[in-house]
């Protein structure tokens, strides 16, 4: 066997090992979570861990019996859908404006806001929302989550808009389009897949965001992820129910990501290379 063939075999083997390692690191906690959610409560924390067990839905029954799980889910849906819609409503025109004018500082500003720790916004918001009596309202949660969704929408769509040849916009101008109409009639249909990707990413990030909901919500508007935190008690933690809740919370983003995984990759690189 030649040296080149041996080197190739080694590279293939190392690649496989790398994938396996990454897969184990990423998937192990998820598999653990899902398996634990089907274990009898006493077996969740058993040591050594049991791998053979009789699956049960007790944890899920317990979860729905002891908590208003569906109403938390509805809260999550309202906040996530609202903040995603808000992100799209302002993010689409903002990304288009940045692309059109080639003035990039507003986009960089939103990115900086996204990079900043959530606590930076949390305290001022808490004070402001309390002063106007909005603590615990959906509006406060949706507005706060827009800090997460808006930069995602802008930064996913910006390369998509940049990827459209400038002359197409100019042709539309000469044809009689205003800038607003160019956005809706020409640009937006051309970046439809980018919009879908940005909406899904915004939805997932907002759905998973914990901090704002923990502080700014109340009993009626608590989101799933904030509610799940309540299962961790000082004395006793309902590990089984917590695993069931975590599994259910993780389900929508996972399903969404799986449905559009091909789009996600192409959407994130949209506009990087002109066709």
């Amino acid at each position: 066997m030649t040296d080149a063939a041996t080197a190739d075999r080694w590279i293939r083997w190392l690649n496989t090992m790398q994938l396996v390692l990454a897969g184990v690191l990423i998937m192990a906690p998820t598999v653990w979570m899902v398996l634990s959610s089907f274990k009898p409560s006493f077996e969740v924390t058993a040591y050594p861990p049991t791998l053979i067990f009789t699956p049960t839905l007790d944890n899920y029954v317990e979860l729905t019996r002891t908590t208003p799980f569906l109403s938390y889910a509805l809260n999550s849906l309202i906040v996530t859908a609202g903040s995603t819609a808000l992100g799209l409503l302002f993010g689409i025109p903002a990304a288009f404006a940045v692309s059109w004018t080639r003035i990039s500082w507003p986009a960089i500003l939103t990115l900086a806001a996204r990079m900043a720790p959530g606590t930076l916004f949390l305290l001022p918001w808490y004070v402001m929302f309390r002063q106007v009596g909005m603590i615990g309202s959906y509006t406060a949660l949706i507005l706060s989550h827009a800090v997460i969704t808006l930069p995602i929408v802008i930064w996913v769509l910006l390369p998509s808009f940049d990827g459209i040849p400038r002359s197409v916009f100019e042709a539309a101008q000469v044809d009689g389009c205003s800038v607003t109409r160019i956005l809706w009639r020409i640009a937006l249909p051309l970046v439809a897949s980018g919009v879908a990707v940005s909406a899904i990413l915004a939805f997932v990030f907002s759905w998973n965001y914990f901090l704002f909901a923990l502080v700014l919500s109340n009993g009626d508007t608590k989101t799933l992820i904030a509610a799940a935190f309540n299962f961790i008690g000082e004395g006793s933690t309902q590990w089984g129910a917590l695993m069931a809740a975590a599994t259910l919370i993780a389900l929508p983003p996972l399903v969404l990501a799986a449905l559009v995984q091909r789009w996600l990759v192409s959407g994130l690189t949209l506009g990087a290379v002109k066709g």
Partner: protein, 357 residues
């Protein structure tokens, strides 16, 4: 239909001046071609007329209306772009009807106008297709169709043939010319290809560094170039230039002692100027029947084109070309006598390049 009037136009990008001070009158129904090398400001000028670039100072009139601050959308100008700029998500029909729809034209009229333009451009079979399903030539026609249906005040073309292959370019060039004669609309066409300029234009604007070098009919620009730049830019192969001077009662090449046989008028102008740059187009050399006559040259390279033959030679330190009859069959190394055809030579001021008349 409208005339276009540009008065004292200045265009700057920051501190960089692209067009220093330009005046131009384009008559109604006229087909004017802007030609010049890359960076001469021809596309900028076209985009200014379209309303896609603001004017730094000066005035632009379309018809009787001053349009300096008028948006592109309100100028009623149609433009065909270099890359066609079709709307990728729309069918050909929708690409063509879009502008009419924006103007609230009744559906029946839109349909009639789109179909009439499609028939004129032979694109009826493609009306339901998306642009990506069309060839370059077909896209080019759709782009023209999109302009035609609007019946605009003027058509602007920004190097629309540069993405087509040579054969298709010739075909579409002829079609645009025929179209201009049929539509009788003001047309402004930008190209860096002087053959396109010569074959299509009623008048040519030769631009260099944002300044009009000459604005005249193709025949005049070719036969009576205003300066050395125009003379060198228009014509293919380009005009040959030789520094000459009046010495010992006759015209001589400045380098060496070679006499140049000039007609009386040209000789008179050179005598008056003392020295100048002599311009002779490759096609304006005659081959002397007797090798002793004319300017003796050694053939360095032969390019047979079929219809005629190009002879490359060096003369007085200048690399030059003569276009001769193919029956002559010259060979590399042959010595020939070349005589500038009387009345076909051009003399330019050695200092500023302006033609000596």
């Amino acid at each position: 239909m409208a005339s276009i009037s540009i008065r004292n136009l200045v265009k700057r990008y920051g501190s960089f001046t692209v067009i220093p001070d330009l005046n131009l009158e384009i008559a109604d129904h006229e087909f004017v071609v802007f030609v010049g090398p890359s960076g001469c400001g021809k596309s900028t000028l076209l985009r200014i007329i379209a309303g896609l670039e603001p004017i730094s100072s000066g005035d632009l009139y379309i018809g009787d209306k001053r349009v300096n601050g008028v948006q592109a959308a309100q100028r009623d100008i149609a433009m065909v772009f270099q890359d066609y700029a079709l709307y990728p998500h729309m069918r050909v029909y929708d690409n063509m009807s879009f502008a009419l729809e924006l103007r609230g034209t009744p559906k029946a009229e839109i349909d009639a106008r789109v179909k009439r333009a499609a028939a004129l451009l032979h694109i009826e079979p493609y009306l339901d297709r998306k642009p990506k399903e069309l060839s370059g030539g077909q896209r080019q026609r759709v782009a023209m169709g999109r302009a035609i249906v609007r019946n605009p005040k003027a058509f602007l073309f920004d190097e629309p043939l540069s993405n087509l292959d040579a054969k298709l370019r010739g075909q579409v060039r002829a079609e645009i010319k025929a179209l201009s004669q049929e539509l009788k609309t003001t047309m402004v066409f930008v190209t860096h290809d002087q053959i396109e300029a010569m074959t299509m234009a009623d008048r040519i604007v030769v631009l260099q560094s944002g300044t009009i070098q000459q604005y005249d009919t193709p025949e005049t620009v070719y036969e009576r170039p205003a300066n050395q730049f125009v003379a060198g830019f228009i014509g293919s192969p380009a005009m040959n230039f030789f520094p000459v001077e009046w010495r010992d009662g006759r015209a001589n090449l400045s380098q060496g002692a070679t006499a140049v046989p000039l007609d009386d008028a040209a000789a008179g102008r050179l005598r008056q100027a003392g020295n100048a740059v002599l311009g002779i187009r490759p096609e304006h050399f005659a081959v002397a029947t007797d090798g002793a006559d004319g300017i003796a040259i050694d053939v360095r390279l032969v390019e047979p084109l079929g219809s005629d033959t190009l002879i490359h030679f060096d003369l007085a330190g200048v690399s030059a070309i003569a276009r001769v009859d193919p029956s002559l069959r010259p060979k590399v190394g042959d010595r020939l006598g070349l005589i500038p055809q009387p009345g076909k030579t051009h003399l330019f001021d050695a200092a500023n390049g302006q033609v000596l008349r």
